[in-house]
């Protein structure tokens, strides 16, 4: 995988819209037991009595949409509407209960910043651990290590244990690792609000450079103004169904109209 700086120098030409993510009538149901069954005994007894009642909860119902290559696509909706479930279905974490998901590119999901960091390990060690969790190899991580340190502005602290980091330093390092490589598809789940203003500007510049390099970005956020500025299209999800897909302005206006 090329590094950010390498790709910025390349010039990518855009052509006609080409699908990179396709959802065809996707439904996802979680089976929620009505009562928690935690022991074998309970389980065995109830299984015999046929008393295991599972309530099906449909987190997504019959969702179809297409994201094109190079697009910045936003997802909005109230809490529990199914946005995160949708990201999980796309990034291979959950298999859809019904329907089909097809992705034509390597997905680099943004792990919740710093999830998987170990407090006792140094920043350096955590960079490699976190990179490995995201599916990168040793050489892929070595090639971007210096850039990660520079971007996260942690030159002095990179060999100190992470438990000594401030929350801002923690988030900066997490963001730097997760975006060190230019992915084909980048998934952002409500995380662009890390660090101080200066660092946020840096994050935005990086996102823009990704866009120029042809990365498709799929983002979930409640920061509607930010989404309006960044996205090409937005989908509004409500109770597991797509309410509206289209121009950011229109969709956000409709969403606001409903929720005021």
């Amino acid at each position: 995988m090329p590094t950010v700086s390498e790709v910025i120098e390349e010039k990518i030409q855009f052509s006609t819209p080409e699908p990179i993510i396709q959802l065809e009538n996707v439904s996802v149901s979680y089976r929620l037991p009505t009562e928690r069954i935690g022991t074998f005994k309970e389980y065995a007894i109830r299984k015999l009595q046929r008393k295991i009642r599972l309530e099906k909860f449909w987190a997504l119902t019959d969702v179809s949409l297409q994201v094109n290559r190079g697009e910045v696509f936003g997802l909005i909706g109230n809490n529990g509407a199914g946005k995160s479930t949708m990201l999980k279905v796309i990034s291979k974490v959950l298999k859809p209960t019904k329907g089909r998901v097809v992705v034509y590119g390597r997905i680099a999901p943004l792990l919740e910043l710093g999830a998987g960091f170990h407090p006792e390990l140094s920043g350096r060690e955590n960079v490699f651990l976190n990179g490995a969790l995201l599916g990168y190899s040793r050489s892929e991580m070595e090639s971007v290590f210096d850039e990660i340190v520079e971007f996260s502005e942690l030159e002095q602290f990179i060999d100190s244990p992470i438990r000594t980091y401030s929350s801002g330093m923690f988030a900066r390092l997490g963001f730097a690792v997760a975006t060190a490589h230019v992915p084909e598809v980048l998934i952002l789940d409500e995380i662009l609000s890390v660090g101080d203003e200066a660092f946020q500007r840096k994050c935005n510049i990086r996102m823009k450079s990704f866009q120029q390099a042809g990365t498709t970005v799929l983002m979930v956020s409640h920061a509607l103004d930010m989404l309006e500025g960044m996205c090409n299209r937005i989908a509004w999800i409500d109770h597991g169904k797509t309410q509206k897909i289209g121009e950011p302005q229109e969709v956000i206006a409709a969403y606001r109209g409903e929720n005021l």
Binding site: Y30, V101, V102, G105, I107, L111, E112, L121, G135
Partner: protein, 275 residues
Amino acid sequence: MASTSKPVYDSASYRVSAISELKELGKYRYLLGQLIRRDILTRYKRSVLGVAWTMLNPLGTMLILTFVFSNFFKSNVPHYPVYILSGLLVWNFFSQGTNAAISGLVWGGSLLKRIYIPSSVFGVSAIGTALVNLVLSLVPLVIVMLVDGAPFFLSMLFLPVSILLLTAFTLGFGLFISSLAVFFPDVAEMYQVLLTAWMYLTPIIYPESLISARWLPVYKINPMYWMVKMFRLPVFEGRIPTWQEFLPAFAWAIGMLVVGWIYFTSKTEEYAYRV
């Protein structure tokens, strides 16, 4: 970025199988190494003696057990400390490895809900960590043998085979029990009790000669009986196992590994929903 006409991921044809999980694990081998490294580095990171505890721990347990039990068994077991330690290493590897597989999958579960990682990586790395500890704890075994004046046998060269069988069995069992623990959280607790009982049913602190002939066939159902034997014969009795002794251990190791792997991977798609 080259456009790809062939999908990278298609949920319609995506199915986790025993084979596909093995391939994914191969792709994530760097993560495997990183997880093992993390577990070894962090376990004793803030203690003064650090990794030396890996060796001091079984040594301490051995000393206590020797002190407590030597009066009982002294007459029929020469070099009792070596006898105990050689069995204890096997048992510690098994109990630590399987417990780490359970906690590893529970820890990894919080990640499995957010990003794609082949779920077997947590169990395999848990056993990998235990394996490193086992090899390290061969050092105190050698020290105890020297101090106690126990003879060294050429048959000890058989130990890599013993370790391989033990690892295969522990990995299979660890995957199986950790998978079960995802669906029934009580399993993790029950397992601690089971482990204690299991340890006393395996001739680790008492000599095999203490088991009455009537009960010996029952003892031989226990796979750990065979795993301990694979270790004790070359270290303690100075001979490599006969075929009659080797085959049960081999069958348990391969059988458990295959069953554990197939069971674990058959449940893989459900973990993100459950853990």
